[in-house]
């Protein structure tokens, strides 16, 4: 029953943020929220830009690339010299080059794949000044790109799609900072650790043991890591650590925070294109697929572990408890896991490696669907729109018209860009996985043999290619090979989709709007929802079916046999 109520309350709360946060974000990006204009203005003056300096999609993309490149360079530098910087009570030395590369790419691309243990590798300064800062800005960049694509639909005959600097500044000032601040207070109020005082050492004279307990500014980092679908926690154990995820309430809050912006952006979309129904249709696609995956994963985790069953132990009503916090339980952990793998967040409060095969299948395939249900902040919406454009193209043809989406004709250029955007992710994930299983340094990674070992490699590169950051564990990722390959995987998975998305925004914004008629392919009804779901499932399914067959599916069909 508890699980039922969790779901119900979650639905209600998400409904509220969908409606009101969505409308608020539309107001922010339409320039109607101005109460911090006095903070914005000096920024713009410094950069020599402003709202009135509209950019073409190429200039917008240029600004984005420059900004991200500078973020990468500064981040890398700071991690390399962290030993000489302040806020380093543990006197941690420089982060090694390959790991620094992987880590900074990971945070700039909103992935938060962690090949390091936070409390043993990163100084407080690195955690705050590099990682947390990127958790804010990379989320802003993602949202900004989604908004340009929305503008592509809402504008007509426009050569420009907005101003990058204004978009990310407003996103930070009006959306991410205030919400993360409030959520942070709540999380710390629940008992999460928030201090710069360094670890404490406890001596237990009775047992003669001395223990060092790491502490740090974990509470507020937890807020933005979830709100911005980053997922990289302060501690190595991420949100399974009671210092960052102290209670059932914070666990629930983390789920809500993660899902709130990606879902609400569909309302923002509807509001900005002046048809909330269109936003509802996209939300419908997200809810249906998300619901199915929660069901698969929760059902699977509610079953006993087949390996335990095979060993002759009878399990009744316990579910698969290996690798799960008892305070969260099997189904809620599954809900948490699904929420994090389908939002490109990637935080964990349980060990995915210990999931039943179909539970692991749920987490893995959730990412393989391209992180669109609801996906990462911004990236979920723009990637889903890419899939929707393909659905509209095929559907539109089937009714005998050059396809249109919101009155914008979908022609060769749009199909090319959407095709490119949809092509990148399967391509890099499959190719990098193939490289990893073929070279010695790649094969050295997984701790398990057979299909589970394959699953571990596939999972890692799927997670990074989709900018998720969820780790299955069981893979020694902190090797030069995985740091570098993973870093490239993340960069391509982020920017090789963002740039076509911006190109699409530019192409669409330049078009005139064809008025809708009875002969128009409706893009706000259940048929459209069905077709878009079809495209998402078919593209993901057809590209990954063979790979998944050799991993989780074989495991499932082996009924607990080890390899």
């Amino acid at each position: 029953m508890g699980f039922f109520w969790t779901i119900l309350v979650l639905i209600v709360l998400l409904g509220i943020t969908w409606r009101y946060l969505g409308a608020y974000m539309a107001a922010v990006f339409e320039g109607r929220v101005q109460f911090l204009a006095w903070v914005e203005r000096p920024f713009y003056r410094l950069l020599g830009t402003g709202e009135e300096h509209e950019q073409t999609w190429k200039r917008y993309a240029g600004s984005l690339v420059v900004f991200s490149a500078v973020s990468l360079a500064i981040g890398y530098l700071l991690l390399r010299i962290q030993g000489s910087l302040f806020l380093n009570p543990q006197h941690l030395g420089a982060v090694p080059p390959a790991l620094s590369f992987n880590t900074v790419v990971s945070f700039v691309t909103n992935t938060n794949w962690q090949n390091y243990g936070g409390e043993t590798t990163m100084s407080y300064f690195s955690q705050i000044g590099v990682l947390t800062v990127q958790q804010f800005v990379s989320a802003s960049v993602g949202i900004a790109v989604a908004i340009t694509l929305v503008r592509g639909f809402s504008r007509r005959n426009s050569p420009t799609i907005g101003n990058f600097w204004v978009d990310i500044t407003r996103c930070l000032l009006y959306i991410l900072l205030p919400i993360a601040f409030l959520a942070g207070i709540l999380i710390v109020g629940q008992g999460a650790v928030q201090t710069l005082a360094g670890p404490v050492t406890i001596h237990d004279p009775l047992n003669g043991v001395t223990q060092t307990i790491p502490r740090g500014p974990a509470g507020f980092m937890g807020a933005i890591m979830q709100l911005g679908t980053n997922g990289g926690g302060f501690f190595n154990a991420d949100l399974a650590h009671p210092f960052e995820n102290p209670t059932a309430l914070t666990n629930f809050l983390y789920i809500w925070l993660t899902l709130s912006i990606p879902f609400a952006l569909t309302y923002t979309f509807g509001k900005m294109v002046k048809s909330v129904r269109h936003g509802m249709a996209l939300a419908g696609v997200m809810v249906i697929i998300f619901g199915c995956w929660v069901t698969i994963t929760a059902y699977s985790e509610h079953q006993g572990n087949p390996a335990v069953v095979a060993a002759g132990v009878t399990q009744t009503n316990t579910g698969n408890t290996e690798g799960k916090e008892v305070r969260f339980g099997d189904t809620t952990s599954a809900l948490f896991n699904t929420s994090m793998t389908q939002t490109s967040d990637g935080a964990v409060d349980s060990a995915t490696d210990s999931y039943n095969p179909m539970g692991g299948f749920g987490a893995l395939t959730g990412m393989m669907l391209g992180e669109v249900t609801p996906g990462g902040v911004g990236s979920g919406l723009y990637t889903l729109l890419i899939y929707a454009i393909i659905a509209v193209f095929i559907g539109g043809l089937m009714i005998g018209r050059t396809p249109e989406y919101l009155g914008k004709k979908i022609q060769a250029r749009e199909v090319k860009l959407a095709g490119l955007g949809a092509l990148v992710m399967p391509l890099i994930v499959l190719v990098f996985t193939a490289i990893a299983v073929s070279v010695h340094s790649g094969r050295a990674g997984p701790l398990n043999a057979g299909p589970h070992g394959f699953s571990e490699i596939l999972y890692a590169l799927t997670s990074q290619g989709n900018n998720n950051g969820s780790a299955m564990a069981g893979l020694s990722g902190n090797s030069a090979f995985y740091n570098v390959v993973g870093g490239i995987d993340m960069l391509l998975g982020r920017f090789a989709i963002m740039i076509p998305a911006l190109g699409l925004a530019g192409a669409l914004a330049a078009k005139n709007v064809v008025p809708a008629s009875l002969g128009t392919f409706r893009t706000d009804n259940s048929m459209f929802v069905g077709m878009t779901i079809g495209v998402v499932l078919i593209i993901g399914g057809l590209t990954f079916f063979p790979a998944v067959s050799l991993g989780p599916i074989v495991e499932q069909l082996s009924h607990g046999r080890f390899f």
Binding site: M398, I399, L427, P515, F521, M527, I538, L542, L557
Partner: protein, 694 residues
């Protein structure tokens, strides 16, 4: 300038796919004509040349795959490798065959036309007034030629002198001759047609090799066929779907290796070919060519595939009232006598007034009087004078037995009656006004000073046109009636015909403005036209269908020419355009949906040696690895052949709203596309096993 045969009821609407009456260029050919079939078979092999084949990227990948399996089959000969190679090769051949079939019909038609163009001699006028005989191919633009009875007109031109009846059946298939005369909108003649009587002088308007016939030949042959915008977009999507499956299959080799399972190259290539969208890739260009061909079958020549595609997108149809919506000639429909007079007296006078009037209106008055009151037409003796209609008097009539009967425009007849010393009855004006407001033309009849009453002439709306407009509305297409009538009359007819809007008192300028306005709103506009003053609007419209009877200027401005000169056909053109896109979309969906079953056929058996557990996914219970892979490959090849007729004919199109069409096609081609291959792959597997092949 009348078209002799012009029966406006002719050329009634038939939906695309309905049996067409073959005429003119549209030679009667069944879909699988033996001659066409034979040539298509040869062409399918000619198209194998890599430089040609690469134009179809999907099939090119199959061809490369075939080469790889061939090498494998030669290096390690076995039945399986050879069978796969042969079937993959057949897949390419089938695709080429589909395209060759679609082209074949056009080529056969082009040959017929070429025979027609065969050396004609022209009688060129030399400046000194004499004639010289030159081959038609030597004629240049601006030359003057003389044509007399039984001469074939050597090239396209304009009649600058004389009048003649011309047999245009060679082009239009219409056997009844038409009149061509100098001046006006009926002066254009087409090379290859034949003068039946009289003598005309024609000024050649076509450049050498650029005549209508030349263009027609190039068109049906598909000589300059270019991919249409939509075809390009779809080709890109198919390329994406091909590119994405190459790494899927290539990486599978690595994954298999890691898992300790080695998958043979032949199986991998088979999997690749089964996954890439070969079905639609094979049929895509055939669908486009067949779409153009369907228009030709209906005697419409589209100057580009782009125009055909645009037709499917049209949202506004501009239709001329006369000849398209109405029959075009006004007919008497009732008599309205003024107070104190019998209808029969009015009818009798009206009939008398029309006795010598040979215009269709005049004839219809006599006929109405006869039908209503059984009034026989009187023999006219010698003692009468016929007063013909003139633009000045605006009335006509008859002086007979001392009676002076007149009929004509209300104001003119009223003035005439007053001049004769009569008065205008008080109830006349209300009747006239009421009729005018109703869209009819009132003709007032007077017998000397006595005004008798009014004849109502109605422009009769074509039967069934209202239902047609309703269908258009369901498809989301707005119909606009264009007429020179005043707004009152236009509104009444518009209402009767059921069009969505009308443009009254239309001039070429207002028509042009309307098109521009619609286009600025993002809509695509289609229209028909025939006059020289229609040319700018025809050029501006996204789909401009020029009537073959029209002027050269009109024909050059439009992007389609209707050889039957039947403006109602615009509606067919729209439907054919839609059908073309629907066929593409449906087969794309079908092609992608098919992949699901092919995966379930191949993946479980590909790794059966290493992971026998995967057999649980072999839900079709296919016999063995080889039989499963073969079944999928054979299905993949045969489905192309099976769908050729569908690609050439187009999927069934019914006018309906977008939602209904989509639902239907998703069910048939989407859901059907998932289910059908499961059944057929299983059947093929059973057959292969029964034949003890694998």
């Amino acid at each position: 300038m009348t078209r002799i045969d012009a029966n406006p009821l002719d050329g009634g609407h038939e939906g695309p796919g309905a049996p067409t009456v073959a005429r003119g260029v549209a030679q009667p050919r069944s879909l699988f004509d033996r001659e066409v079939l034979g040539r298509a078979l040869i062409d399918s092999f000619k198209k194998l040349i890599p430089t040609t084949q690469i134009r179809n990227p999907v099939m090119f990948v199959v061809l490369v795959g075939t080469a790889v399996t061939l090498i494998e089959a030669i290096a390690r000969p076995n039945l399986f490798a050879w069978s796969v190679t042969i079937w993959l090769f057949l897949t390419v051949i089938f695709a080429n065959f589909a395209e060759a079939m679609a082209e074949g019909r056009g080529k056969a038609q082009a040959e017929t036309l070429r025979r027609m163009r065969a050396e004609t001699e022209a009688r060129r006028l030399v400046p000194d007034g004499t004639e010289e005989r030159v081959p038609a191919s030597d004629l240049a633009k601006g030359d003057l030629v003389v044509c007399e009875a039984n001469d074939v007109i050597p090239s396209d031109g304009e009649v600058i002198e004389g009048i003649a009846s011309v047999d245009e059946s060679a082009i239009t298939g219409e056997s009844a001759p038409v009149i061509r005369e100098s001046g006006g909108d009926r002066s254009a003649v087409t090379g290859g047609t034949k003068v039946l009587s009289d003598r005309i002088v024609v000024r050649i308007t076509a450049e050498r090799g650029r005549t209508f016939l030349d263009r027609m030949i190039a068109l049906v042959e598909g000589a300059n066929r270019q991919k249409t915008p939509n075809e390009i977009a779809l080709t890109i999507l198919l390329a994406v779907l091909t590119i994405v499956f190459i790494p899927v299959v290539v990486t599978l080799e690595a994954f298999g290796h890691y898992s300790g399972a080695s998958v043979s190259v032949v199986v991998l290539i088979s999997l690749l070919v089964c996954l890439i969208p070969t079905t639609i890739g094979a049929l895509l260009s055939a669908i486009g060519i067949a779409g153009m061909d369907r228009l030709v079958q209906r005697n419409v020549l589209a100057m580009s595939g782009r125009a055909v595609e645009a037709a499917g997108d049209v949202q506004t149809l501009l239709l001329d009232k006369t000849g398209t919506i109405t029959l075009g000639n006004r007919m008497a429909s009732s008599f309205f006598p003024v107070e104190g007079l019998d209808e029969v007296d009015l009818a009798e006078a009206a009939q008398l007034a029309s006795l010598a009037d040979e215009t269709p209106e005049g004839r219809s008055i006599a006929v109405l009087a006869k039908n209503r009151f059984d009034l026989r037409e009187r023999e006219i003796g010698a003692d009468h004078t016929f007063i013909p209609f003139s633009a000045n008097t605006r009335m006509s009539g008859l002086d007979i037995d001392g009676r002076r009967i007149r009929k004509g425009a209300s104001e003119a007849v009223k003035r005439w009656a007053v001049e004769q010393g009569g008065t205008v009855p008080a109830d006349l004006d209300p009747i006239v006004e009421r009729l005018a407001r109703g869209g009819s033309t009132p003709l007032v009849v007077a017998d000397g000073p006595r005004v008798l009453g009014v004849i109502e002439l109605k422009d009769v709306v074509k039967q069934g046109i209202r239902d047609k407009f309703e269908e258009m509305r369901q498809m989301g297409i707005r119909t606009v009636m264009v007429t020179g009538d005043n707004p009152l009359t236009a509104a009444a007819i518009a209402q009767e015909a059921g069009v969505d809007d009308f443009l009254a008192e239309a001039t070429p300028e207002t028509k042009m403005d309307l098109i521009r306005r619609e286009q600025e709103g993002g809509k695509l506009v289609a229209m028909t036209g025939d006059g020289t003053n229609d040319a700018p609007a025809l050029a501006q419209a996204d789909v401009g269908v020029a009537m073959n009877t029209g002027t050269t200027a009109a024909k050059e401005a439009g992007n389609m020419v209707d050889l039957d000169s039947n403006p109602t056909k615009l509606i067919d053109v729209v439907e054919i355009g839609k059908q073309l896109l629907i066929t593409r979309g449906s087969l794309t969906t079908f092609s992608i949906a098919n992949d699901v079953a092919k995966y379930f056929a191949i993946i479980p058996v590909a790794f059966e040696a290493t992971y026998p557990q995967l057999k649980a996914l072999n839900i079709m219970h296919l016999h063995s690895q080889t039989s499963a892979v073969m079944s999928a490959v054979i299905y993949n090849a045969l489905v192309i052949v099976a769908l050729i007729p569908l690609a050439l004919r187009g999927v069934r199109f019914r006018a309906a709203g977008a939602a209904a069409i989509l639902r239907r096609n998703v069910w048939i081609y989407g859901i059907g596309g998932i289910v059908v291959p499961f059944v057929f792959i299983k059947v093929i597997d059973l057959v292969l096993v029964a034949l003890h092949l694998y």
